[in-house]
């Protein structure tokens, strides 16, 4: 069973309890910031008359995990995408590649690491809900199995079609995410990208990378073949009667008029 979160922007009252609970749970220093950062893994912001919540979407095929050269990020069977800070060398390809701009960096540290929501992995492993879901007084963020959450979200969309934009964000975005969102405003307005393909971005690079062994074999044989032919031509030429030409003798490049 993979778990996830469902955030319903129409229910959020903007109290920020989730962000505070997150800070406490993950022992993050400083106050809750405006934007997510290495030290603030989730935020709640007013957008018109509703609130937008930002956190890691925990993709089903995470782009960050696919791009990390040292495999410091990976998707656990339970659902959270977690980060092994002791492996990370700080190339920041995950930040560049994440379609949701989630991973953030400790720019102020001489020994920096990435910071991002890890869906309270330790709690989730014990079967407890995430700190943010447990703290939410309005049930705007709820925790559960992804399948149940999808059923619940579709139920809300069906029962109240005028109260929502008819879209469950995260069902297919970037190949689907464990965090799902409902809203009565366009998702772009909540600061979420609407142009994300339903195919995981990781597939695009894998299509290239998976062909490398085949390519190496073919290109290697081709190059050796070229060498074989040209070198043979030289050997043959050496046996032929000498004639005027620049490319026959090996040492002909010396002092040859241009």
């Amino acid at each position: 069973m993979t778990v996830g979160l469902l955030f319903d922007a129409t229910r959020c009252i903007g109290c920020g309890a989730c962000a505070s609970a997150c800070k406490e749970q993950n022992k993050l220093p400083g106050p809750v910031e405006e934007e997510t950062s290495a030290y603030t893994w989730t935020t709640v912001k007013p957008v018109g008359d509703i609130y937008s919540r930002r956190l890691c979407m925990h993709c089903l095929v995470p782009t960050c995990a696919s791009v990390c050269p040292v495999g410091a990020l990976h998707k656990t069977p339970e659902g959270p995408v977690i980060y092994a800070e002791d492996k990370c060398m700080g190339c920041r390809y995950c930040m560049m590649a994440c379609p949701f701009d989630v991973p953030k960096y400790q720019w102020d540290k001489a020994v920096p690491i990435i910071g991002k929501c890890i869906m309270c992995t330790s709690r989730v492993k014990k079967g407890e809900p995430t700190a943010c879901a447990a703290a939410c007084p309005a049930e705007a963020t709820i925790f559960g199995s992804r399948a149940d959450l999808i059923r619940e979200a579709k139920d809300r969309l069906r029962k109240n079609p005028t109260g929502y934009v008819d879209h469950l964000y995260g069902l297919t975005e970037a190949g689907g995410t464990s965090v799902l969102m409902l809203s009565n405003q366009l998702f772009e307005k909540l600061g979420l990208k609407a142009n994300l393909p339903s195919e995981p971005p990781a597939m695009r690079t894998w299509q290239v990378l998976s062909n490398i062994p085949d390519f190496v074999a073919v290109w290697g044989v081709f190059l050796y073949g070229v060498h074989w032919i040209t070198a043979r031509r030289e050997v043959v030429a050496a046996y032929e009667p000498p004639r005027q030409g620049p490319d026959i003798q090996d040492d002909s490049h010396m002092g040859r008029p241009s």
Partner: protein, 387 residues
């Protein structure tokens, strides 16, 4: 008995370029200390919105790309057997080797925790393009070092290792071409992962191919350019009989590349950005006119190609356009999605310029003490070590 000599070492004197080098080097040291003591945020304009800047766009992408002359020329000489280009192989390999050292050094600045760079060897993730780039850079730098080793070894009279390298030069060159092909293109593959972020003027499924072909074009441009620069610096004459056919190859590479770029922009339906003269459109025009249209147009004429001044101008434009292209892919094309403009901090520029300066100084020293450039004496025999 060799085709190359160390240039008659002009006595070192405290000239203009030495002064410039000194002026850059002092702040470079200062920034270096600051970067490692205070972290990336203290010296760069990088941020959560813009995590990759000048050090990736210029130092990494351009450093690797402009070193492409090395694999191109070793392939031409050792695989296509066009031996007449042999005399310029050595300076090209030296440029390639220094280029890769430059890239690795720049990475030590850019990585958050550079002392963990060895993690790429230990922790594998074959799904990551960065993993492939790391391995290729590592292996190819080794190949270049071995290809260049004879130049150093002969200086100290070690002839046995030279014979060994000479014996395996063909597989070595093939390995070098393979690795170069893989990671020149994989620098383009790095950006395949951001279809929703990179502007359609630059995003394409063919990015790996674009990076590969343009690197060959600009790599050849660099060979011409560096022949010219060393000619100026050391009072040598330009090998026009070798550079002219190289320019022709560059025109072909850039021509194919330019055509493919236009096709891909057409397929993305992004011509509007150019005709509307948007920020991205203007930057594209700079890149494309400088790096493709002008060099191809100029050097298509035999009369211009055989004129050293025009030849060097064409090569310079190609290299300049190449640099703008890499900066466009890594910076201009990503700014729209990031929602901010990134302008490198002075400290970032100081590090990049400082590293280029150190590379050039290393090149100048190597030319002074090692046999890099051809001697026009009729005595020599083909030094087939690959230089």
């Amino acid at each position: 008995m060799n085709t190359t000599v160390a240039l008659p070492s002009k006595r070192f004197h405290f000239g203009f370029w030495t002064t410039v080098f000194g002026l850059v080097f002092v702040p470079f040291c200062f920034v270096t200390v600051l970067r490692f003591y205070k972290g990336l945020g203290a010296v760069t304009h990088l941020s959560d919105k813009f995590p990759w800047g000048l050090w990736i766009g210029f130092d990494l992408l351009c450093g690797v790309g402009l070193a492409a002359g090395a694999f191109t020329l070793t392939a031409v000489v050792h695989l296509f057997n066009l031996k007449k280009f042999e005399p310029i192989v050595r300076p090209t390999i030296l440029t390639g080797f220094l280029g890769y050292i430059f890239v690795i050094t720049a990475l030590m600045f850019d990585l958050g925790q550079p002392w963990r760079i060895w993690h790429a060897i230990v922790y594998w993730n074959p799904h990551s393009v960065m993993f492939e780039v790391a391995w290729c850079v590592m292996l190819y730098t080794t190949v270049l070092a071995v290809e260049f080793a004879p130049v150093v070894l002969e200086r100290f009279g070690f002839h046995t290792p030279i014979k060994i390298i000479h014996a395996v030069i063909t597989p070595l060159v093939i390995l070098g071409v393979l690795l170069s092909t893989l990671h020149q293109s994989s620098l383009g593959t790095l950006y395949l992962i951001v279809p929703s972020k990179l502007h359609p003027l630059w995003y394409s499924q063919l990015l790996p191919l674009f990076f590969y072909i343009s690197a060959i074009g600009a790599g050849i441009g660099m060979v011409i350019l560096e022949s010219y620069l060393s000619q100026r610096a050391f009072g040598r004459h330009l090998e026009m009989d070798l550079l002219e056919p190289l320019a022709r190859a560059m025109v072909v590479a850039l021509g194919i590349y330019g055509l493919m770029r236009l096709q891909s922009i057409h397929r993305n339906g992004a011509f509007g950005a150019i005709t509307d003269f948007t920020y991205e459109g203007r930057m594209f025009l700079v890149e494309f006119v400088l790096g493709v249209v002008l060099p191809v147009a100029l050097l298509s004429f035999r009369r211009l190609r055989t004129n050293p001044r025009w030849l060097v101008t064409g090569a310079f434009l190609a290299v300049l356009g190449f640099v703008v292209n890499r900066l466009n892919v890594s910076i201009t094309g990503m700014e729209g999605a990031a929602g901010i403009r990134y302008v490198p901090a002075l400290a970032e520029i100081i590090v990049s310029v400082g590293l280029v300066g150190i590379g050039m100084a290393a090149f100048a020293l190597a030319v002074r003490y090692l046999k890099i450039f051809p001697e026009r004496s009729p005595l020599g025999e083909g030094g087939a070590e690959g230089g």
